[in-house]
């Protein structure tokens, strides 16, 4: 019974060229944006792989030198585009792609793709997630309006209700028709394209598949919320004019004003300290080049640590001092950068919490988390690269400390030591592994689904032939 009716309602939707063509146009744009981002990711990732391999060769082939100089030479680590970034690049266009892992410094990730973006590039960048979250509500509401308010205006709803169909069945079918059309044309194609891209690039594993499924299901849920809201408003409004005005207003509030307002509110209410003050603090507490006075303090500490009375008794005092300062810098970086990144995640958690105000906010926060493109995933890369850097520098300094060098003596090493450092390989965390600040967004979406279902149920009950 349901399927033929559903088929009929979808056929009715397709007859309204204005609404149906809007949906088709959006679907095409969504697929094109997905393909465009995927192609770009494949190209850039290939380049990153190539340069990362060159970096490895440069590291191994740097020749004979002081191990601490090798720690300065070090490598650039590259972050590949997250597997699902064609669906939702999240903050990635505004995050660095590479980091220089040198001694003494926990460097920022550099070369953000949008760093020098022109105003056109910035407003012209759209992803499937952004389009579905921001524009799909307008199309969904247009479809709901077409299916309900216009029918009611023409009097056909009265006829349908008069026929032997239960009102709630009619409402559910209409909602399903809108939902199935939008989910089928907006979510399903890009999910398929992404799975194809993952298979093509050899990234299709269980986690990636799970993420695609979870992302698709979440967006399907979002569209269901919108479809239910659209149908309920169209049914409850006293006339088509009021229905359209209300739907238009809801779209503006949910999708245009509230997400940006919420984001700006969170960033203003819980501001980040400026990078300038963070870097300044790090440089003053853990300088890469320290003063002679600091050198004197280091000397006293080394004497105490080694339990000797003269630096001559330490095999390699220069390297021991470098190691001392390096390990001190680790503590400083953790103490300063840790809370800074925690604050970024706290902002994201607050933004996700504001998903209870608008389902669009909830989907924006949730989508990036599922796609692995939110800041918590980026931080995982930062932490992994930093651990690698510290291991590399500590290993180099340790080699120096193990060999005697005084005055103009210098200990050097070669590829035998360099090759003991494993290649930098990054594996993104599995779904749910990092502490996802976006969890409240999923709760908010569930609440929105509940509200939408309740409103639709009540509306259906109140419907009389």
């Amino acid at each position: 019974m349901i399927l033929p009716l559903l088929h009929l309602e979808i056929a009715m939707l397709r007859r309204d060229r204005r609404a149906w063509w809007s949906l088709l146009a959006l679907a095409i744009v969504v697929v094109l944006s997905c393909v465009s981002i995927a192609v770009d990711n494949v190209r850039v990732d290939a380049s990153k792989q190539q340069v990362a391999a060159a970096e490895r060769q440069r590291w191994l082939g740097q020749g004979e030198k002081d191990p601490h100089s090798a720690a300065h030479y070090s490598i650039f680590a590259f972050k590949r585009a997250p597997a699902l970034s064609a669906l939702d690049p999240g903050g990635n266009p505004f995050l660095g792609q590479t980091v220089y892992l040198e001694a003494h410094h926990q460097n920022d990730m550099l070369y953000r793709p949008q760093q020098n973006a022109s105003p056109l590039q910035r407003i012209g960048f759209a992803s499937p997630a952004a389009l579905i979250a921001g524009v799909a509500p307008l199309v969904v509401f247009l479809l709901a309006f077409t299916l309900v308010a216009q029918e009611r205006e023409r009097g056909t709803t009265r006829l349908a209700l008069g026929a032997a169909i239960h009102p709630s069945m009619l409402v559910v079918i209409k909602m399903l028709a809108v939902w199935a059309s939008t989910a089928g044309l907006l979510v399903l194609p890009v999910a398929v394209v992404t799975v194809g891209q993952l298979a093509f690039t050899g990234q299709l594993d269980r986690d990636a598949l799970l993420r695609v499924l979870a992302w698709s299901a979440t967006f399907a849920g979002y569209l269901a919320v919108l479809a239910a809201i659209g149908i309920a408003i169209s049914l409850r409004a006293s006339n088509a004019r009021l229905a359209m005005t209300t739907l238009f207003g809801v779209w503006i509030a949910f999708s245009l004003a509230l997400p940006r307002a919420a984001s700006t509110f969170v960033d203003t209410a819980q501001p980040l300290p400026s990078s300038q003050s963070i870097r300044q603090q790090m440089a003053s507490e853990a300088p890469a080049f320290w003063s002679d006075e600091q050198g004197q303090r280091n000397k006293q500490e080394l004497l105490a640590r080694y339990g000797v009375s003269s630096l001559e008794e330490i095999p390699n005092p220069r390297m021991a001092e470098l190691d001392l300062m390096e390990r001190h810098s680790h503590e400083v970086f953790d103490r300063i950068l840790g809370p800074f990144y925690d604050q970024v995640e706290r902002q994201d958690r607050w933004f996700a919490l504001l998903g209870f105000v608008s389902p669009t906010i909830a989907i924006q926060a949730g989508s990036a988390a599922l796609a692995g493109t939110d800041f918590s995933h980026h931080r995982h890369f930062i932490d992994t690269a930093e651990r690698y850097r510290r291991d590399l520098v500590n290993r180099m300094n340790a080699d120096g400390m193990a060999h005697r060098a005084h005055g103009s003596e210098r200990h050097t090493n070669d590829e035998r030591l360099w090759s003991q450092i494993p290649e930098f390989v990054y594996a993104a965390p599995r779904l749910g592994t990092p502490a996802m600040p976006a969890w409240p967004a999923f709760g908010a979406l569930l609440v929105w689904l509940g509200i939408a279902a309740s409103v639709l149920t009540i509306t259906a009950r109140e419907l009389r032939p």
Partner: protein, 497 residues
């Protein structure tokens, strides 16, 4: 029966529209949006200005501590206080050049900056300048939450560019289609008034309330955000004119759609489509096209090039230094010292060579950036939404062009510093080498730190900024006129059957 005069119709409509709760709801929402956008942008810019002040103070602290050390290291060597290493010694000109010369190039915000965030959330307003950083400064930025950057800020420009047209279109769609949706259009059509005069009078009445309310809201919002209105009278006036023209542009589109007297639903559907096309569809399509035709040079390949060039320079170091010294009449006699120069002195010859070898990539990146700016400027004429955002940023001083000029000035500043310091560093090559054991803690070949110039940037005047946005303002006026005339002509008959 004679037709009512336009003036009479307008006065009647003006009184009627003025009592509409919808009008005042929209005006209040826009006022709130303007204030929120201007205030949050001002808050962000105040934070950035505070960071600039800290950087300035940091520079002064370094200068003071360098001077203090320079005095302290004049002392004789004792058992407890030995010879200071060259990289810790500001009295050693080579050590000074690499480890003590560090200044900030700062780009302050202009008084009208709350008008638009522009590139201020993305591009750095503070660059650390050191002598031996290739091309002036390292790639850098002030970290902002990437989620916020991706979503875009709710700034004043967003409220004007995106929300203002929606408010206006909603108002026009609901107030002008009232009779059509109530089935009263036939009655109106039966009167001795044509559709042009009737729609025109109502549209004029809407604008007569909307325009002053919006312009006043703009002034109020910027004043609340702390903009010193007296200081920025001219650019503020131009921004008001731009807002006015933008309203006329959208009212022309509204007139064009409503000329055929559609229902509110149909009008809103059409407005939604036009809005989405101008705000999302066309920018996306044009941006994608431009990216395909003129892709950006790869940053990843630039990293690779930097590493390769540095390796090459390392491998050729002694030969390059020998060649550099040999080519200089003042240093040619000392070419035998090429292989024993200290690190900082070597850099004074090698960094310019690194820059020379990397310049093709660097120039390509810079050229691409300039091309993209020009394309965005030209596209602003096609997409008034982009054009007005860019014009606001230009008036606010948060535009990409000012940023680029700041970065150029930072690079020139580095060259200026090099011109002061490099000759002193390189002149040491002609002097006898430092004895292995000396009497004083410091080297003292630079008895006092240099009094280096401060960074300065030539700012475009208000008049220049205004001149830059005038072509777009004229174009917008033309578009507004064309859409209005097209709408006027289209409203040639009543659409009643």
């Amino acid at each position: 029966m004679s037709a009512p005069a336009f003036r009479d119709l307008f006065v009647w409509e003006w009184r009627h529209v003025g009592r509409s709760p919808l009008l005042w709801s929209i005006v209040v929402i826009l006022l709130a949006s303007f204030c929120w956008g201007a205030l949050t942008t001002a808050f962000k810019h105040n934070e950035q200005s505070a960071a600039l002040e800290r950087a300035r103070a940091d520079d002064q602290a370094l200068i003071a501590s360098t001077a203090e050390r320079a005095v302290a290291y004049r002392a004789k060597i004792t058992e407890d206080a030995g010879q200071v290493a060259y990289w810790q010694d500001p009295t050693n000109v080579a050590g000074y050049s690499e480890y003590f010369v560090r200044r900030h190039a700062l780009k302050p915000h202009l008084p009208l900056s709350p008008l638009a965030t522009g590139v201020s959330d993305l591009a750095p307003s503070r660059l650390e300048i050191k002598l031996n950083t290739p091309f002036g400064f390292n790639d850098t930025y002030d970290f902002e939450n990437p989620r916020g950057l991706a979503l875009g800020r709710f700034d004043f420009a967003f409220a004007v560019v995106v929300l203002l047209p929606i408010g206006l279109l909603l108002l026009c769609a609901l107030l002008i289609t009232f009779e059509r949706d109530r089935g009263m259009l036939r009655l109106v059509a039966a009167q001795a008034v044509g559709p042009r005069r009737w729609i025109g009078a109502r549209m004029a009445a809407i604008l007569a309330w909307f325009v002053p309310a919006v312009l006043l809201a703009q002034v109020v919002a910027l004043a609340i955000a702390g903009v010193p209105l007296g200081q920025v009278a001219a650019p503020l006036a131009v921004s008001l004119v731009l807002t006015l023209l933008y309203i006329f542009f959208w009212s022309g589109i509204a007139l064009f759609v409503l000329a055929r007297q559609p229902s509110a639903g149909a009008a809103l559907g059409m407005f939604g489509a036009i809005w989405a096309l101008l705000i999302i569809g066309l920018p996306m399509a044009i941006s994608a096209l431009v990216a395909t035709v003129d892709p950006p040079p790869s940053a990843v390949e630039y990293v690779d090039a930097q590493r390769r060039v540095r390796d090459e320079i390392d491998a050729e170091r002694d030969a390059l230094l020998t060649q550099a010294l040999g080519a200089r009449p003042d240093l040619a006699a000392h070419v035998h010292r090429a292989t024993s120069l200290d690190y900082a002195t070597r850099l004074s010859f090698l960094v310019p060579e690194i820059e020379r070898r990397l310049s093709p990539q660097r120039v390509a990146m810079e050229d691409h950036r300039v091309r993209q700016e020009r394309i965005a400027f030209a596209t602003g004429f096609l997409l008034p939404t982009l054009g007005i955002e860019s014009a606001f940023a230009a008036l606010a001083g948060t535009d990409p062009e000012r940023q680029r000029r700041f970065e150029q000035a930072a690079r020139e500043y580095q060259q200026q510093l090099r011109a002061c310091v490099y000759p002193l560093v390189q002149a040491e090559i002609t002097k006898p080498p430092a004895p292995p054991v000396r009497e004083t803690r410091g080297r003292l070949n630079l008895p006092e730190p240099l009094d280096l110039p401060e960074f300065s940037m030539t700012e475009a005047s208000n008049a220049e900024r205004i001149r830059n946005v005038l072509p777009f303002a004229f174009w917008l006026a033309l578009l507004a006129t064309v859409t209005s005339i097209a709408g006027w002509r289209r409203a040639d008959r009543w659409q009643v059957t």
